[in-house]
Symmetry: D2
Subunit: 226 residues, 4 copies
Amino acid sequence: MTKVRTPFILVNFKTYSEATGRNAVRLAEIAERISLETEVCIGLAPQFVDIVSISSTVSIPVFAQHIDPIAAGSFTGHILPEAVREAGAIGTLINHSERRLKLVDIDTTVRRARESGLLSVVCANNAIVGSAAAALNPNMIAVEPPELIGTGIPVSKAKPEVVSGTVDQVKRINPDVVILCGAGITRGEDVAAALRLGTEGILVASGIVKAKEPYEVLMEFAESVT
Amino acid sequence: MTKVRTPFILVNFKTYSEATGRNAVRLAEIAERISLETEVCIGLAPQFVDIVSISSTVSIPVFAQHIDPIAAGSFTGHILPEAVREAGAIGTLINHSERRLKLVDIDTTVRRARESGLLSVVCANNAIVGSAAAALNPNMIAVEPPELIGTGIPVSKAKPEVVSGTVDQVKRINPDVVILCGAGITRGEDVAAALRLGTEGILVASGIVKAKEPYEVLMEFAESVT
Amino acid sequence: MTKVRTPFILVNFKTYSEATGRNAVRLAEIAERISLETEVCIGLAPQFVDIVSISSTVSIPVFAQHIDPIAAGSFTGHILPEAVREAGAIGTLINHSERRLKLVDIDTTVRRARESGLLSVVCANNAIVGSAAAALNPNMIAVEPPELIGTGIPVSKAKPEVVSGTVDQVKRINPDVVILCGAGITRGEDVAAALRLGTEGILVASGIVKAKEPYEVLMEFAESVT
Amino acid sequence: MTKVRTPFILVNFKTYSEATGRNAVRLAEIAERISLETEVCIGLAPQFVDIVSISSTVSIPVFAQHIDPIAAGSFTGHILPEAVREAGAIGTLINHSERRLKLVDIDTTVRRARESGLLSVVCANNAIVGSAAAALNPNMIAVEPPELIGTGIPVSKAKPEVVSGTVDQVKRINPDVVILCGAGITRGEDVAAALRLGTEGILVASGIVKAKEPYEVLMEFAESVT
């Protein structure tokens, strides 16, 4: 996992208009500036169509939001891992709460990510699903209680037991997996709380993308982990 | 539908390695050259990640292979119509046999395409499904019997009654819809046969992308419709 | 369609506990009594596991809530049309808003229903989807705006234009289809309003199943159509 | 898990016509007879519509082929765990290769099975998926390489390492889970081989249902484990 360092902040652009097309590139440039200034590793997960523009503009790690469990061939409308890699991504989210996958497909997708040179971040909604995901040997697991996503109620404060429970259960099954947490994170202290619970980074979306001043908020996040 | 002219040849790049990344751009340049030389309208449907590179390289119409029935928001891993449009596409396939959609989602997706300035090409497997799709008011319908896709057995010869039946039934429900056909088309005479059956163009994938000499084959297609 | 007469009242039992197992049989007996007393045709759509008990207890028509587009074979966990028929059902809902299907699967499912001797009732959320469904030649179409389902706000009063628009558009494409409407229907006058808008019956669920006095409410429905 | 004893033979009726309706009841009676004669625990997984008929006819354990991760409510066309339980089933398959589920839904479904008094048998295609499933705490795991299902090539002979690997990996994560294996089992010696590899039973479908003499074959299976 030489392409990212922990503590790791991964910003999911979702399909927000504030993070589409030119807006996506602008947000990526802000993130790159903060990463260079603070030396904190910040990754970006833009929409598929924006991966090329962003990865050719900034030097920080770019992730896909999803890949399909397929090889090259007849899969119209699907996301080929190798295409995402050639476009400049170095990793991918898998099984995000807005794009849940079948168990057998997560297994295949984690393998396909590995084969095509992509880091895998499997999302989980609770500690048990996180520990099941750990058995599939992804590089990272991101635990996000879906009921907190987008609420501004930080998982690291509202459900610390979900975070620390996930850390415990995942590490028992697979001590090599890096654990992120997400949902409701909008302030630097939420990020710091997440790390104190044993995670090695966070997954954030609206907290940055929808912020009035993304630069200020992301800088606060980065400073809280240094 | 000022962005494409009939007869229309639409080349689906699927997730073929011959049509991914740099290969996709190279194939797009070949298609553009033929379109300029023959004045036949040729469209391209590359993978999502390649839309930006291709639409900024060539001047012929670019289509997405799929869009999701969503608006901007929290839809990680999905395809936002406006993002596809901003990336340079002017249309999209919908309901391809390798990416079938729910009926209610086709309805929403056709609307979302219209709202975001994308032409819609709804795929259908037979005349009845084609006529149901016609009721949803897309710009085009592409009828493709799935059992012939990728076989080299041309639908326009093996199942002419499916093609002409689709033309009849679709036109009765919605005379404004442009009808394409596809599956198994590998030679110029297959294209000409399709037009004689009442279609206004074709949807082709492996016949071009997997051809030893894509330039020769696509040129044969273009010449057969002039 | 000799197995049901119009005006037709179809009661969807969903997976309500008030309409599961013994409760389902009890509710079926109430419906049968009202149908015998009023001579109004009342159908029941219980859960799959309850079809045998209900169809062997009452003489009124029993529908499945869904069937799969399959033939006998290796389809663990799926609903075989012939099995539903042998269990005593004479029809089936297809594409209910809580069980939406792909367009190509609705086409196949309507055919499979016909082949196995089941009447097909395809659900639609609006007039356009209803007219697309009409092209597939089902026996009935039930239009239900999903945003009104379970609200007690009757579609026949809140959105009369959706109902009458569906009637117009469906009849233009396929004059033989019987049109039902549903969503929010809790009183006899809602049923009467639906018929005045050109439908030939209604699809109802919580309005009957969750009623304090199902006998009273269903009797009011039946009397309103005689 | 007092309702089944190991070694356990679970017969999946799928949607075979030989195991639908009256045929299903007849096959269930054969299985019951063999179970009584040999004292081997034999379970049956018929189609949903046949659960009531079978569980009211025979005294051996009946399983559903699938349940949905839902509670009572508005879920037209879905399988309510409590309805399956009231119909007489005492367990359920989950995530069969012909009915794969999302990871988060398997988690919820296993819980819902437990809450409604159903034993859970989660199917897996390989040892890694089996170990992920083990983290979800089902009662049993059935490993079935999909490429062998229905072939007559027994997993216990063709892929013994998949079976023994699954046993090892599952037991490391969750020693309480009972492990079954399946795919291609048609003879008593295949069953015996499965037990020697560390499983405590088998999941079988066509090997029994499609046999010319189901009584003979199932008797051979039962005798091989006594």
